[in-house]
Symmetry: D2
Subunit: 314 residues, 4 copies
């Protein structure tokens, strides 16, 4: 029964909790039109999932976007679709972020097409669930090479060129709520994302003087094919996840996109070195030792209260 | 020389760093007009400083605001000024948050005037610099009673009534960047603010099921009379503070207000239990062990590099 | 069925997990005999539970101990029993830590009997589980006044006198694993303990120059009557708690006592501002988003692996 | 003048602060003799610095030690010297932890010589100060390959074999105080160490059921040739570091060794997923926003107090 659903990501998964009606999502773009006019944004992994949503929002707000990942066909289709919807240019550039030379060439292309970026979003990643005792050195590297080294190569390459040209920029990295706590069964991802957070906090301190700022979003669970097909292939895990999210539902790519756009905008120029958890409250709900008491009924509480009151001494 | 400036808060303090030109502040309101139409917002300490700025922004966006603190004349003047500027009602209610009964009466008044709030901002606070060995029990309580107990009384009172009426709401608390790390010389504030953060993270987990969400902003230094006159009465400290802020300048009340408005809006309904540091990068800059190396010149780096390269073994 | 056990704390609760055989507890004293000869230790709440265990260990190691709390009869019996077992003096002093004057008088008595302490352990606390919407302002204060104000009054009073006399000391506070994350249903405790942690980290920074150092233990669940009768009065919660502890068992007071003795000893003079979680791994186990996958069987993993491998694209 | 000292690590660097007389270090071994009899300990980077100190302490306490790193001559000399001093076997095994195959062969050798370990200390690391804009992809990898991948390869290899043989073990990783905050100028190290912490917290949660526990020490500055020659080649930085350490002095390798031995012993079987900062208070001292006020004199405090008292309103 735990594997009752097919691996093709269904349109809709487990139902939200009742309280989610208090927490409706807003899909519309939040920032004022034209916020990013004449700005260039570079988004890794921009062809799918959250990267696609962030690109869409930035493009709607006037940015010229460059999206980069391995699958050039996916990128091109996304670029076209977004560009058509927003009327602003979206460029697709093939780039495997694990390869420093590929990164360098990709930035060359960007410089030619659009110039160095004002906004950089390190969003590309890989991940899959796996008991750690089944993990080979190659399995380990297949994730950390993308997430940690890839982010570093992109960030160092762009940082050096921006510094050289005395151009400011806002960097954003997408990590995860388990980057700080760690988590079993996604260990290479946890380690690599923690590394990304330290990288960004370090550079926020070091490179502010060059006009660069660095911030982080830690998303909780948001249904994308890339993430869910490798983290919950059977669909059996989703219900339990929702049941512990205080807001009672998964997040939506558009919600991340609005937050990311804010953080990348001039409304947030004073933000650097920040780490924003955006997860419907899942993290604090899991981490707090007595939160399971949510299952206790009002009648049971009355009885427990009476027992506690009658306790004498220590 | 360290006390060369008068205690009257000067219009402008220490100058920003050169890189601040990369990080211009935007004073305009970020969210779409009408975002808070038909919403009621309750802001403690809304008569001055950051509270006043947040009230102004919410009011501009259509909210009916209730501001509460001890000095009713200050509140009334602020209420009038904002209301005049925005065209929306701002109510002034006297309330000392240290007194649970006063809090309860204040909420009664609010219910009559505007109903229970959709947005609650716990912003009232007290603070002053003082070596801890000079701190009496009363000195300790003069801060913690406002910051921790005051926030708790307001939050519990409103939470109970909202739950009772099955009404959802977004709570926001204003803490500080030293709530996690602690800090000497402002110890009661550090302790109380840490308590507020735990309160909010706890309730984010516990009260999500009732339609309530809870988030936190940790501001870095923002020039307000209330804060700076008690934290840097001589003005001697400000320059050092700016020198370690990567973004090279203090924050502005309007920047906090835009962030607070976002967090209180439906664009952020999926945000709960989040703690957002907003400080120009000051925290990571102070905390990172090797950040003082920013003082090393390029020539010195070359020499150090040569020395490191020539090192053999461990 | 959830309330099947009596409120009298049974000798043994839920059984440990199989892996606990890998993690045997050692009850014996760890530090070399005489480690605390000629040292004076002050332990609040030293009459029961963890405080009693820490007092026992310090006394075994040669310290002259002063234990203080409200119930003088309990204190006196404990003092006698420990003193008899170890051959070293243990003094019982009545003191309600919520009352600054009582604290001052208690320290007067200690100074007369033994001099100012070399070791201070802030261990006194109160706590009970309760939905926050059932919490009155008095309920809130009944906990925070002991935990936060009580710790502050003891710490400030002793700190001032030690500084005045130019005497060094090691301070230790006992907090909890939910001080950082917060937790529903124990909200006043979470807030007050977070405040204690900030207090200690702040003073570690500020008062080092006076020869004082400050550290923290965050215990996970350890079966004491004081804690368990108010946190799990029915006994229904314990099994769930154990099931998520990686080490597979509750902690023992003697284990805390050995850690506390180490941190208070000269072996740890370089330790200050440290926060040591000691919880069998419970915190990381709860907090990590994918740790529930521990329930997946090896056969299920094989199938999931196949599904993941067959996934194409994002 | 900042480069006034030679790169050869002098016997003694900058002098300690006056308060350090309150905080004498104890060099002797803390745990009871024979604590590790019949235990096998594996220490990477055990030939020098902190690794050598930890090996010495474990060996004194009865453990059979295996030390592994790249320089086999250094290892052999250390092994001989320690073995001679303690009377217990110390084996030297050449191993570059960046190479999974080398790690596997090293473990083969260990299994033959001594069996699988009861204690594993991941201590090997590389680091050097460098402005990030001068860092090449190879420079980045030269550190992260040792620190993060190396630790992962060692941990996964040993974990798998221990699980297979149903043998319990205590793992310890040596990270750094800037792993959480990040730090400029040592960015690859900060990122990789953060990754190691997430790895350990993750496995603490996941592998407890197999009898394995995982803990972390974050050392502050301890004068070793390996660290200081690459982090402070000119010696110019040390004085500033000491000036902000509340305890007023650097740490000593023996102090780390006693803590590490405790954490690896059965006295700490209930400890897993813990992160212990051991740094003389440096971290909290740097991170706390108002700690610079330590420079204010008593006379200045009196004046500031008067100014604050005379402030009216906000
Ligand atoms: N969805 C969630 O619930 C969730 C939660 C927490 C964090 N996140 C984070 O959010 C980000 C986006 O995830 P998502 O859910 O949108 O999944 P996704 O659609 O799978 O996005 C991952 C993207 O990374 C790109 N990528 C992978 N390897 C690459 C490489 N070597 N070089 C360049 N690009 C590469 C992929 O494109 P190609 O295949 O074309 O290379 C893909 O577009 C990730 O950082 C993820 O960790 C997601
Ligand atoms: N400015 C900064 O750099 C900075 C940095 C970090 C955090 N913060 C935080 O930001 C918030 C606003 O500070 P601010 O800079 O705007 O200073 P502020 O103008 O002094 O604001 C504090 C407000 O709290 C109110 N208040 C004080 N005691 C009260 C009580 N017992 N009951 C009700 N209200 C009370 C005050 O009004 P009455 O006097 O009329 O009661 C005042 O309006 C505070 O929480 C502060 O800790 C500020
Ligand atoms: N056991 C656990 O699982 C656990 C877990 C995490 C943290 N802790 C912490 O460990 C510490 C000890 O707890 P425990 O389990 O040993 O429970 P306990 O036996 O109930 O200890 C609490 C002690 O505090 C004293 N106390 C309470 N109010 C006081 C007051 N106003 N003034 C002075 N003393 C007061 C009590 O003595 P009187 O009644 O005589 O005043 C009692 O001896 C506490 O800080 C607790 O929060 C325990
Ligand atoms: N000393 C401090 O102030 C300080 C502060 C914070 C953290 N730490 C940490 O403490 C640990 C020990 O540092 P230390 O100060 O004792 O410096 P160290 O003497 O330089 O120790 C580093 C050790 O790592 C070994 N190593 C380096 N690369 C290796 C590789 N590829 N494979 C296997 N072993 C390798 C080295 O031996 P070979 O050259 O023979 O390979 C050396 O023995 C490190 O993790 C460091 O990050 C130290």
């Amino acid at each position: 029964a735990w594997f009752h659903r097919s691996s093709a990501l269904p349109q809709s998964g487990a139902p939200p909790l009742p309280q989610s009606s208090f927490f409706p999502s807003v899909d519309g773009v939040m920032l004022p039109p034209g916020t990013f006019t004449n700005r260039v944004a570079f988004i890794t992994g921009g062809g799918t999932g959250l990267g696609r949503a962030m690109t869409t929002t930035l493009s709607h707000l006037g940015a010229q976007c460059i999206i980069a990942s391995r699958k050039v066909d996916v990128l091109q289709q996304t670029a076209e679709e977004i560009s058509k919807a927003t009327g602003n240019k979206v460029h697709a550039v093939q780039c495997d972020v694990r390869d420093p030379q590929a990164v360098s060439q990709c930035v060359n292309q960007m410089e030619e097409m659009a110039g160095l970026p004002d906004i950089v979003i390190n969003n590309a990643a890989g991940n899959f669930v796996c008991p750690s005792e089944r993990l080979s050195p190659n399995g380990w590297k297949s994730i950390t090479d993308i997430v940690l080294n890839g982010t570093a190569f992109v960030t160092l390459e762009l940082g050096k060129r921006l510094i050289q040209k005395q151009k400011g920029a806002a960097f954003l990295a997408i990590t995860t709520i388990y980057a700080e706590s760690g988590s079993g069964f996604v260990v290479p991802s946890a380690s690599a994302k923690a590394g990304v957070e330290a990288l960004y906090k370090s550079l926020a301190a070091e490179w502010g003087r060059y006009g660069l700022r660095f911030n982080i979003i830690q998303p909780g669970p948001i249904r994308t094919k890339g993430a869910f097909s490798r983290l919950d292939p059977t669909g059996a895990f989703e219900k339990g996840m929702i049941s512990r999210i205080p807001v009672g539902r998964l997040g939506k790519p558009e919600e991340i996109a609005n937050l990311a756009a804010y953080m990348s905008s001039d409304y947030a120029t004073w933000m650097s070195g920040a780490v924003i958890r955006f997860d419907g409250g899942e993290y604090v709900s899991m981490a707090g030792e007595f939160n399971d008491l949510r299952r206790v009924t009002p009648e049971q509480w009355k009885m427990m209260e009476a027992m506690i009151r009658s306790t004498k001494g220590s």
